[in-house]
């Protein structure tokens, strides 16, 4: 399994996540796309960790997962609250944070 393969897979997953985040209107799907992007990075970290024979990358990956889980909890809470008050989950309609 060459490094190039890992890089291509990782960037492919990242791009799928980014494009998904950009084009989908449902916030739940958008959160999933974010997860995809994060996981592409995790994948890369672990691959390099194994390649370089150190544990640093794996530790980073664990931290990222933890943070991602926490973020998703917060994000889901916000989305739930919005859904309860508005009965609408289209992100293009949710622009109350307009500066």
């Amino acid at each position: 399994m060459g490094n190039q393969f890992v890089l291509i897979i990782s960037s492919a997953i990242f791009c799928i996540g980014a494009v998904g985040f950009l084009i989908r209107r449902n916030p739940l799907i958008m959160l999933m796309s974010v997860e995809l992007m994060l996981n592409s990075v995790n994948f890369l970290l672990i691959a390099y960790s194994s390649f370089l024979q150190t544990l640093d990358g794996q530790i980073f990956a664990l931290i990222i997962m933890t943070v991602a889980a926490a973020e998703v909890v917060v994000g889901l809470a916000i989305i739930l609250t919005i859904f309860r008050t508005r009965h609408d989950l289209n992100v293009d309609h949710i622009n109350v944070l307009k500066g």
């Binding site: 950009l22 958008m30 293009d92 622009n95 307009k98 500066g99």
Partner: protein, 622 residues
């Protein structure tokens, strides 16, 4: 030695500060006496300085610089808080505080009715302080500070009756004219610093003779710039128009400005800087020329005015012309001596005129006076004494000082026949116009039956008597003054004796008096012919040669036009528009940018991705 000299300045300053703060809270009398006491104290200290100075050998009298502390020290530039005690400054101290004190005392009586009595006295004290600072300065910096303060004090005092529009306008005019002079002085100080690396008198005057050849460009520049200040303060042509208008202030103020303080500053300045002026004979010649021109010009205007104070004001300009003539032809101590005698008799004339005005409840038009010799005997006598001194009547003080200048204007190295001739003609004019006022005011019949003139109270009469005494006898002090000032001016001035010229000058004065008597003491009908023949000249003189109108046309109107143009084109279309355009452009840009703040998550995300990709592009491909 002379460490107490600072107190001479401090007293009036304290008076000014104290009366400004507490003036309203203490009784009128108290503030009047306090105002007098400070100046009186300064006068006593000046006398003390005089006696200390006289106890020294003549050659040791120079250069006593009393330093309080070093104020500024920056690189090679040093500025001490210091005053200079030498014969010239002590001489001026005595005149300023002495005559100033008498005028202060007189003011107690004159201003008695005024509700803002203490304000008046605090200003008067400030005036005295400013003038003393000007005189005492040991460097050009404090000279300029005092110089500007004097201008401010005159502004405050001329406009003292602030409910009177004409007084406020006159104050403004005086201030503007004086600021023109101040600018000249300030530039002169910079040129001096540039040339000498110092602005203290001692350094500059010691270095000047070795550093410059006579009529060197720099010296000419410095002397001419200083002259702008001197002309403005001393109301010499062409900066003279403020002085007659300054008569709008209370009479003691006029006396103070004209006799002891402000207008003498120009003469003092030239005398003080005589080292520089002696290196600039061209400037000296120019000064003498302006002096005689001002003398005759102002004298001629004085001949036709009807306001008693205005006549005396023109006479001040004219007499200052004599002083400038004296310093211009290099007889500095004669100029200073005339300054002193003039201080006495001009203060006397003003205060006597003030007494007349006071007695007639504010009337200043001499046509409405007349026959006051019975109702105001003391004022009559003292005014007559002042008039005789001014006219240079033999054996009065004015005779000694003016004769000496007229003599020198012919015989001194820089003198010539023209200067002498104009000086003599002016002497005749002077005698004519002052006796015209005298005849109008005190002799003849009462011209205004409604008036009930009364003699002034003692507090005004005593100063008149004191001044009359000094005006009569100070002529005898001429040799003493020359001797006293000789260390400053490097030797005693030569007094020229020339019986013929002296006789001519005396007869010019007597002729003026006689002409005035002939015209104003005889029936007016006989003069109709002469009046008609001289009508155009009379109009010209009465309108002061239209100088105000010329200034209005040449300076005020163009400046106004430029101002209006700039307001329209520069202010509205330039500055305002630039500011408004900038504001609206910024507004537009911010509106354009604010579209990005849509609140739409996907738009933000797109921006982030685009930014990220752009940065990646830079990192990868550059």
């Amino acid at each position: 030695m002379f460490s107490y000299a600072w107190l001479i300045l401090i007293f009036p300053l304290l008076g000014f500060a104290g009366l400004s703060w507490f003036g309203d809270k203490i009784p009128k009398k108290t503030s009047g006496y306090a105002g007098c006491a400070t100046v009186g104290g300064s006068f006593l200290l000046s006398l003390m300085a005089l006696s200390d100075l006289l106890s020294l050998d003549p050659e040791k009298r120079l250069g006593h610089v009393v330093t309080l502390y070093q104020w500024i020290s920056s690189g090679s530039f040093k500025l001490d808080l210091a005053i200079l005690v030498d014969p010239l400054s002590v001489f001026m101290f005595l005149i300023v505080t002495g005559v100033g004190f008498v005028i202060h005392v007189y003011s107690i009586g004159y201003m008695e009715e005024d509700p803002e009595f203490s304000r008046f006295f605090s200003y008067l004290n400030f005036f005295i302080f400013s003038m003393l600072l000007l005189v005492a300065a040991a460097d050009f910096f404090f000279l300029i500070v005092g110089w500007a303060f004097v201008g401010l004090a005159s502004y405050l005092l001329i406009g003292f009756w602030r409910e009177k529009t004409s007084a406020v306008l006159a104050a403004r005019k005086a201030f503007v004219m004086n600021v023109i002079g101040d600018v000249g002085m300030v530039i002169a100080a910079f040129v001096i610093f540039n040339a000498f690396g110092s602005i203290s008198y001692a350094d500059v005057f010691a270095a000047a003779p070795d550093k410059f050849l006579p009529n060197d460009d720099t010296v000419l520049l410095i002397t001419l710039l200083l002259l702008v200040g001197a002309f403005a303060k001393s109301a010499q042509i062409p900066l003279h128009t403020w002085l007659p208008d300054a008569m709008e202030g209370p009479t003691p103020v006029s006396a103070l400005i004209h006799a002891a303080t402000m207008v003498t500053a120009g003469v003092y300045l030239i005398a003080r800087c005589h080292v520089l002026y002696e290196l600039a004979p061209y400037t000296m010649y120019f000064i003498a020329g302006i002096g005689v021109i001002t003398a005759i010009f102002a004298g001629s205007m004085g001949m036709v005015q009807y306001d008693i104070k205005r006549v005396i004001a023109y006479s001040t300009m004219s007499q200052l012309g004599y002083m400038f003539l004296a310093v211009g032809i290099g007889v500095f101590s004669l100029g200073m001596f005339h300054l002193m005698t003039h201080a006495f008799f001009k203060a006397l004339l003003f205060l006597a005129a003030g007494s007349v005005i006071h007695g007639l409840n504010g009337e200043q038009d001499i046509r409405k006076m007349g026959g006051l010799r019975f109702s105001m005997p003391l004022t009559h006598i003292t005014f007559l004494i002042g008039a005789l001194c001014l006219a240079g009547f033999p054996l009065t003080s004015g005779f000694f000082s003016k004769e000496a200048i007229i003599m020198s204007s012919f015989h001194a190295d820089m003198g010539n026949f023209v200067f002498w001739g104009i000086a003599v003609i002016t002497a005749g004019m002077t005698a004519f116009y002052i006796f015209r006022v005298y005849f109008y005011t005190f002799l003849g019949n009462k011209n205004n039956p409604d008036a009930h003139p009364h003699e002034s109270p003692m507090i005004m009469a005593v100063p008149l008597i004191v001044l009359s005494f000094f005006a009569l006898v100070m002529g005898l002090a001429a040799p003493a003054v020359d001797q006293f000032l000789s260390p400053v001016f490097g030797g005693v001035v030569h007094h020229y004796e020339d019986a013929t010229l002296e006789t001519i000058a005396v007869f010019a004065g007597l002729g003026g008096i006689l002409t005035a008597a002939l015209i104003y003491m005889t029936s007016h009908d006989k003069l109709d012919f002469a009046k008609q023949a001289l009508a155009p000249l009379y109009d010209l003189l009465f309108n002061k040669y239209y100088v105000d109108e010329i200034y209005d046309f040449l300076i005020v109107k163009p400046v106004r036009a430029i101002g209006a143009f700039l307001e329209e084109k520069g202010e509205r279309e330039g500055i305002d528009r630039a500011v408004d355009e900038t504001a609206s452009q910024v507004h537009g840009v911010s509106r354009a940018i604010s579209i990005w703040q849509s609140g739409k998550v996907r738009a933000y995300a797109l921006n982030m991705v685009v930014g990220m990709v752009t940065i990646l592009m830079f990192v990868v491909f550059l």
